[in-house]
Symmetry: C2
Subunit: 405 residues, 2 copies
């Protein structure tokens, strides 16, 4: 019982420092409802394990002995985080506190990326990140973000329309090829982006948040009462496939028509801006946004058109979820500012008065890293649940040696 309470308190303290650190012992005590000596003992245990460090605060300008700042330990542990996006593959070594320590990146051709090829590239990145990690540091978990619908238990990609994947054992294969003896926890990119923005980005402090993640299409992560909406199978939040234009709508990659992502996704914007059919990708989108900024009427009309549909979608979501904040991520970070006027006009027109009293609209604060940072959090979950136990197990694995790639 005592042991269980101690483990839970170590978990809570490390989680606080990981998400909000550096933070003073005094503040930790307040937030956790524990007295000074208990905080001191817990901090000492985590510090001895290398999971936190302590430092004197810079001059606070107040009298009295200042409380020591507890910060995430920077070198003892890390996770591997992967991001399989439509246009790129990313792998990173991420430290406590969510710090991206090192990353590797490769563009991904849009056509013909099968499971084997993707996993091979990612595992290669992962091995090199592992090899270049400082001596004495250990890998405590692996998380991955994928642009499709994921079965929560085992990281199976149930449906990845952008890559044409159906029921591909992505998590299991990546885990096998990495050979670290660690499971790879996989999440949908927009789900992970939503969690990351709520924990470290534009949505800190919001219990009800909607995150729209644009790439080729539009994914969604929706947080309801501080928890990610997952639904019965973990496949909720598919706001990009909300039909907004059922009769005149553009065809959607999902096989349907008039979905939000068909009306506001990459192809819709490029078509509205009369770009050649062969053009695609983030740079092409940014060129439209830049042209609009310079006053080009075709580009401005395109953003206006997209903004109108985006506004209808966002208005629907506000009526359904009464959120505190709506966050635009992925390519919508670039697109949203030029569409904000239309989005706000649609909200004014369609959202019930009391539901729009307080809602904020923001772009993702973590930039293109929302999804990667979210994947890292999946990797950290075992360590945060049981800091010393997980570290011990990870150290034992590390001593056993990293198998050849």
């Amino acid at each position: 019982m005592q042991e269980e309470i101690r483990r839970r308190n170590l978990s809570r303290l490390l989680r606080h420092v990981h998400l909000a650190g550096p933070v003073s012992r005094a503040v930790l005590g307040e937030r956790m409802g524990l007295n000074r000596s208990t905080i001191g003992a817990l901090t000492a245990e985590l510090a001895a394990a290398g999971l936190v460090g302590e430092e004197a605060p810079t001059d606070t300008g107040r009298a009295g002995r200042p409380s020591l700042l507890v910060r995430p330990g920077s070198t003892r542990v890390y996770v591997l985080a992967f991001d399989v996006a439509v246009d790129w593959l990313v792998a990173a070594r991420v430290g406590l506190g969510g710090t991206i320590l090192e990353r590797r990146w490769a563009p991904r051709p849009r056509a013909g990326a099968d499971l084997e090829r993707v996993v091979d590239v990612l595992a290669g990145f992962g091995r090199r990140l592992h090899e270049t990690a400082p001596a004495g540091s250990v890998c405590v978990g692996v998380g991955a973000s994928y642009c499709g619908m994921i079965r929560p238990g085992d990281g199976m990609v149930r449906f990845g329309p952008d890559m044409g994947w159906v029921d591909q054992a992505f998590g299991a294969e990546l885990s096998r090829l990495l050979g670290l003896g660690l499971p790879v926890r996989v999440g949908n990119e927009a789900h992970l982006g939503a969690l990351a923005e709520q924990q470290r980005g534009a949505g800190v402090g919001f219990q009800n948040l909607i995150y729209l993640h644009g790439d080729v299409g539009v994914g969604g992560g929706i947080i309801v009462g501080d928890k990610l909406l997952d639904g019965d199978g973990g496949y909720g939040c598919e706001l990009g496939h909300m039909v907004v234009n059922p009769y005149d709508g553009r065809p959607c990659g999902c096989g349907s028509q008039g979905c939000l992502e068909a009306e506001v996704g990459e192809r819709a914007l490029l078509d509205a801006a009369r770009r050649p059919a062969g053009l695609a990708g983030r740079d092409a989108l940014r060129a439209v946004v830049d042209d609009a900024d310079r006053g080009d009427p075709v580009a401005r009309a395109a953003l206006h058109h997209i903004g109108d549909w985006l506004g209808i979608g966002v208005a629907n979501l506000i009526n359904l979820f009464n959120p505190g904040i709506v966050v635009f991520g992925g390519m919508l970070r670039d697109v949203y500012p030029g569409t904000a006027q239309q989005v706000r006009a649609r909200i004014a027109r369609h959202v019930l008065p009391v539901a729009k009293e307080r809602v904020r609209l923001r772009i993702a604060a973590l930039g293109d890293d929302s999804t990667l940072v979210g994947a890292a959090e999946l990797g950290f979950s075992a360590l945060l649940a049981d800091p010393l136990g997980a570290l011990k197990r990870a150290a034992a694995r590390a001593t056993a040696g990293f198998p050849p790639g």
Copy 2:
């Protein structure tokens, strides 16, 4: 500490019996993880207070001494439940187990119902229900269902478009006029209907449920991970104001256009069935459904048309929420069966494959009482949280006498 554990166990046991009773001591022990003697002691306390009774089961056909069945006490306590719907006002005395013991009902004219008039009628019903309650029974709470957006804390009607109410202190006024010294807990009708259907109706056992409540418009109650979605201010779930037809849509009572409720609500169906503009109400709707059942082509086409829009709305909700079940209540109970084919066709077309693997579509099992039963649950919440404490307080109030009406 012991006292706190005992109170919590009494609360859990009474809640089990209230929702699932009659239930055997053996099953209660299993569900609550408590041994036979603890269950016996808790049951005895609640039985002494009149909150539960015990009975021998009918012959189980199995050997051995059968476990006694614990049932909700039928006469000691009740709540008053009110339902302010578009077309009627209802009040009921409801006993433990959710049994409606007595009810009073009045039609409500659609125009010109101000707060004072509505509360006056309801309070009159409430007083008569109280007067005709058996001697020795006490009122332990009051709940009300209202067809509009409710501020959770104080029962303020923020927006009641069907009655033209904005910021009307419904809960406080009804409480004052009842004069029972009890607060009136108020909820949105569709929220309460969703909870009631999940607790006692079509949605028992489902953690993710969408309830569509049709009257003039379409309200929604959405349960995510076993909890009602409320959002930042308690104003979420407004699925009737999801825009599905933004450019050619019918005008909506909310001031917008093309909302789901504008396309599938009472007026839309009656117009599609070419009924006179003056006609309204549930009987007029049922006449269309009856005509369609008899093969009338105009009525069938009307249901087909409504079903198409309803299907688009339901498909969107399934993509967003990945629910286990969608429940149709209010007038949609009558309308849904004749539209089911279109609804299923839209689901097949628009819902992502993995999100439709398991979803069920059902009509409300509690009939028109879903909202009233949900309101009664609000009234029971204090008793269920602390059975003996709440009963003691209620008995003290009853002894002090019911004030003149």
